[in-house]
């Protein structure tokens, strides 16, 4: 095999890989497909050229959106600064300090000038630059560099990157779950290889993906999902190897009551919501191929070559019938597959011996938590995320009433980033206002005799003492 000779095989970017594009603090997850254009930071780019390069390579965006590996050279050396002012007493903001106009800069860009050259031009044409202090000059150059930077770095996706990406780009899709809060959840939930973890999330699959990464393909994850089917767009971004999906199971939340009451039937046919949803999915699929036909899908083309022009109509009819039959068969197989999967997930849950529970959703967490905590073994951690503290207060109160948990805690984390530069170290001016709240705790064996009070009552002790 080819990769035996290549030490770096596993670090090379391959077609079909899920990658993350990075520029500065902006990330975007995409899949590499030939001739597919993607938009990144308002620019169309073509990813074909990155295939075969190593992860971590920085590319320059050339005209037409093609990418070329950036040559290694010391950046920053081109803009040498000689003269500097001592303070800003002589700098007046009159809007006239820069002699170049927007159009001039655009022309330079069209002429294909490198961003360093453009920045040098900006400095040369700034009447105030030399009066700025050395620090202010650094800052100016840094700012302009960021603005005219035309590079993109290709990274291998990791939980850190994807969590930061979602938080930066689409926080609404992940219930405003900040990456450090996700980090707390994974740790407080003791997510590790070989355990059996229940997940209920409506964070686009980010939480599920993060858990799967931490389990490394060992153990089982059961995604409890609301509605017609599980949402896992975020899981795709992680680009897991195929065997990771073997540990992933799913179970519809609408069947939990049946499962708990041991009335869930996974063997017999029952025309329930599940089947309906499958039918609906099948119908949708029927619509889709038609749309594809117009574009001339490969399958269709192949069929056409087989069909003679004369008796085309008859054959077409026959073909259509065949196709319908095949579709019905396919649907049957799918249904069977779904039933098998449901049975497998049910079997995992039935023992009520799961090792962890993670909840992060838009649903009210209280009913979700009280419903799913029943599937945990005693002495196992659980963690619930909510954007709203009040919902967790309710969870806390209910759990205290019913007992069966210890170490209950509502927390959130405060996160601050710093600028670290010689003599200029300080917190960044902006910080996140909040990353959501967590309720965490540990299950314990339920005591049937009486509901739990956190501490034993001292008076009762003496009575029992005499018994022992």
């Amino acid at each position: 095999m080819a990769h035996n000779e290549d030490d770096d095989y596993e670090y090379r970017i391959k077609e079909g890989d899920h990658i993350v594009l990075k520029r500065g603090d902006v990330y975007k997850a995409v899949q590499i497909q030939r001739k597919k254009k993607v938009i990144f930071e308002k620019q169309w780019i073509l990813l074909d050229n990155v295939v075969g390069h190593l992860y971590g390579t920085t590319f320059e965006i050339a005209s037409g959106g093609t990418l070329q590996p950036k040559e290694d050279k010391e950046t920053g050396s081109s803009t040498d600064v000689k003269v500097a002012g001592t303070d800003n007493r002589n700098i007046v903001d009159d809007g006239k300090s820069q002699k170049l106009t927007r159009d001039d800069i655009e022309t330079m860009k069209e002429q294909g000038l490198k961003n360093e050259e453009i920045i040098q031009q900006l400095i040369d044409n700034s009447s105030t630059f030399n009066n700025k202090t050395g620090y202010a000059q650094d800052k100016y150059i840094k700012k302009k560099k960021k603005k005219y930077e035309n590079t993109v770095t290709v990274l291998k996706p990791t939980c850190r990157i994807i969590a930061m990406m979602y938080h930066g780009r689409e926080p609404g899709k992940i219930c405003h779950l900040r990456y450090d809060t996700l980090a707390q959840m994974l740790t407080l939930g003791n997510i590790h290889a070989g355990s059996k973890v229940l997940v209920f999330e409506t964070c686009a699959g980010l939480v599920l993906g993060a858990i799967m990464e931490r389990m490394g393909g060992y153990g089982s994850v059961i995604q409890m999902y609301p509605g017609g089917g599980p949402v896992r767009a975020g899981v795709e971004c992680f680009g897991f190897p195929a065997h990771f999906h073997d540990m992933l199971h799913e179970f519809p939340i609408c069947r939990v009551n049946a499962l708990l009451a041991s009335t869930l039937d996974t063997s017999a046919k029952d025309p329930t919501a599940e089947e309906k949803s499958l039918n609906a999915a099948a119908e949708q699929e029927q619509i889709q191929p038609e749309a594809e036909q117009q574009e001339g899908s490969p399958a269709e083309e192949r069929m056409e070559t087989n069909t003679g022009d004369d008796d085309g109509q008859d054959r077409e009819k026959l073909e259509r019938e065949k196709r319908q039959e095949a579709k019905a068969q396919e649907r049957k197989v799918k249904l069977e597959e779904k039933r098998r999967k449901l049975a497998a997930a049910a079997a995992l849950l039935e023992g009520r011996n799961a090792d962890g529970l993670v909840i992060a959703s838009q649903f009210h967490p209280c009913s979700v938590l009280l419903g799913l905590i029943k599937f945990l073994s005693p002495s196992r951690p659980f963690v619930v995320f909510s954007q709203f503290k009040e919902t967790l207060i309710e969870c806390y109160t209910k759990l205290k009433e019913q007992g069966g948990t210890v170490n209950l805690m509502i927390t959130d984390t405060w996160l601050r980033h710093y600028q670290v530069l010689p003599d200029r170290t300080h917190p960044l001016l902006l910080m996140s206002g909040g990353g959501g709240y967590l309720l965490s705790g540990t299950t314990v064996a339920t005591d049937h005799s009486e509901p739990a009070a956190e501490e034993p009552a001292p008076k009762r002790q003496k009575v029992k003492d005499s018994e022992g």
Binding site: Y11, L54, G56, T158, C159, R160, Y179, D180, L182, A183, Q184, L186, T187, L188, N190, H192, A193, G194, E213, R214, M215, G216, Y218, N353, D355, S377, P378, S379, R380, P381, K389, I393, E394, V406, N407, I410, T411, D412, T413, W414, L415, R416, H417, Y418, V420, P422, T425, Y437, T442, T443, V444, A445, D447, E454, E455, P456, Q461, V463, D465, G468
Partner: protein, 304 residues
């Protein structure tokens, strides 16, 4: 029992965590015939612990009861004997994610200290990863070896008793991630780089003082590390508490003709009782909280 794998029943030789209530926990080595004193009385291991299920309620000799929990790195962090200042769960969680740890990762750590972070790392990189941990204090290094054995994670870790600033991590070109918690991390940056894989990896340095951070960041940049980021993360606890708040009585409002009918509609009968008050369930912050643990500096080592 192992720190990387759950089991259902408590067995002879296990390390169990006794939960005494309100985040007060203590670790117990389970041994046939042994006894453990708690403030609720004696726990007799043979009868009270062995063959009981983890999570069980155990009634102590004085009649008080405790819960016996399966050990986790997080419980261990609360229960462990402090030989040094330790890293707590909030920072550990951040370190674990930002270092991109997962099963199979190879990690170098210094110093080992009391092993709080080490256990969390081991949990995350098991079953196929490895931790190389360096501690310059001989007794501490010996003690932590013993603990790793008791916690059944010793097959995943190598402890070296040496000075990381002088002698490095004892490995070259193997690590995916490095963690530094030493007084002068900038002196270890070169060794850290040497220990890391050729294709790159992540580094974290934990320092309580900003001057340390400044020197470390400078050293990292000089050595070609990228994406150097410093941050601080703090845990805020919200204690749930019911509170009753009084409502002021403004007296009858003759100016508003509809007020009487509205009052009947809106005000619940209880609120009309004198003195009027409102009961709510809310949270309060603790009076004091840890306001600083340390700055976490992360960096990426590019391919070299």
């Amino acid at each position: 029992m192992s720190f990387i794998e759950y089991s259902d029943l408590i067995q002879d030789g296990d390390v169990a965590i006794v939960h005494l209530g309100h985040n007060s926990v203590t670790a117990v080595k389970v041994q046939h015939g042994a006894q453990t004193q708690t403030r609720f009385g004696v726990i007799r291991h043979s009868t009270d612990l062995i063959s009981q299920r983890y999570g069980s309620k155990v009634t102590c000799s004085k009649g008080g009861w405790v819960h016996v929990l399966h050990p986790t790195p997080e419980l261990w962090t609360v229960a462990l004997p402090h030989r040094t200042q330790i890293l707590y769960t909030t920072d550990i969680a951040m370190v674990t994610m930002m270092l991109e740890l997962k099963p199979g990762s190879v990690v170098c750590e210094s110093g080992t200290g009391s092993g709080s972070l080490s256990h969390a790392i081991l949990r995350t990189i098991a079953p196929t990863g490895h931790l190389h941990t360096v501690e310059f204090h001989q007794q501490r290094a010996e003690k932590v070896v013993e603990e790793f054995k008791e916690h059944r994670v010793d097959h995943l870790v190598t402890v070296r008793n040496q000075d990381v600033c002088k002698d490095g991590f004892g490995v070259t070109g193997v690590a995916d991630a490095i963690f530094l918690d030493i007084p002068s991390p900038w002196e270890a940056v070169g060794h850290a780089k040497a220990a890391m894989k050729k294709h790159g990896g992540r580094l974290c340095s934990f320092s309580p003082c900003i001057e340390q951070v400044q020197r470390t960041c400078q050293a990292l940049t000089e050595r070609g590390f990228e994406e150097v980021r410093t941050l601080e993360v703090l845990l805020r606890v919200h204690n749930v508490r019911p509170v009753t708040l009084q409502l002021p009585d403004f007296g009858p409002d003759p100016g508003c003709p509809s007020s009487s009918s509205q009052a009947v509609e809106e005000a619940p009968p209880a609120a009309a009782a004198n003195p009027a008050s409102l009961k709510i369930k809310t949270t309060t912050p603790p009076r004091e909280m840890p306001g600083h643990t340390g700055y976490l500096t992360f960096a990426t080592k590019p391919r070299t």
